[in-house]
Symmetry: C2
Subunit: 169 residues, 2 copies
């Protein structure tokens, strides 16, 4: 008979990592969605700027929302594990954890990196063009950084879930 | 006695995935390093543009080089496995594969995404500013896309190496 599914780390450690992921992603989403700026330029006058005006920031928003929904679900499952002592879903859940952590970590890594990369070169550009949207850029840069921090926590969860895979000899 | 280390897929399949990774990354690196453009603007005159002028592209360059070195090393190890029938390095290599694939996949994902995200919003910006560097942007966009394709192949390798981990019950 196959041994029962087990996890490498205690569910309590898993829970802490999930909560840290959630905190990073929720702050990232709040910063991103509330960031506004006014670009003042002699050619175009005043233009209101929001995160929706940039493709990279729209992707970051989608990535953090996906990450938040997934983390909430995993937190609920870990709480059930902690309270009942049994892992909800049994064997099949090990694979859902494994592929879920992998896919969500890649979504958060690309979401954070796309926006962070953009803000770094955008900072130079707004200096050249004389636009005054440095506060907007700093806020979105913080949102991207927090998404990357959230990604690191999901990557840790991903290491846990990889080691929990049953061995296929 | 513990069972000998085994891989989930045949070394031949591993080799094909590594070669596909290598092809994507080498073309990405060539495209990136050879991309040049001339920005003509009434305010600044003609300005030569290279990938080194952008932080995101410099990171993409570093990411593809790290990916290439790692992929070459893994290809050599897989060739030894194929020719001798034995896995070089034994048990310890399973962990190096696991962490190596994980870290390199994250480096390539963030490298590709940072540059791809930047090019998408940069495209709109150069239209507004009347700069004629669309060829440069298209080439770097292709380099970033190929890096992301290379990342997908490393992610597949990462799934293989995760399943090859010994079970810790």
């Amino acid at each position: 008979m196959a041994p029962p599914p087990s996890t490498v780390v205690s569910p309590f450690v898993s829970l802490i990592v999930r909560i840290l992921t959630f905190v990073c992603l929720i702050i990232s989403l709040i910063l991103l969605t509330t960031a506004t700026g006014t670009a003042s330029n002699s050619d175009y006058g005043d233009v209101k700027i929001k995160f929706k005006d940039f493709k990279a920031f729209r992707y970051l928003c989608a990535a953090t929302v996906i990450g938040l929904v997934y983390t909430l679900l995993q937190t609920a499952l870990t709480l059930i594990h902690l309270s009942t002592g049994n892992r909800f879903g049994g064997d099949g859940l090990v694979y859902i954890d494994f592929y879920g952590d992998k896919v969500v970590s890649f979504i958060l890594a690309t979401g954070g990196a796309a926006s962070f990369g953009m803000t770094q070169d955008f900072k130079n550009l707004i200096v050249i063009e004389g636009l005054d949207i440095s506060h907007f850029i700093r806020t979105t840069e913080a949102a991207a950084s927090l998404c990357l921090l959230g990604f690191l926590f999901v990557a840790i969860s991903s290491i846990f879930s990889s080691f929990s895979l049953p061995k296929r000899a």
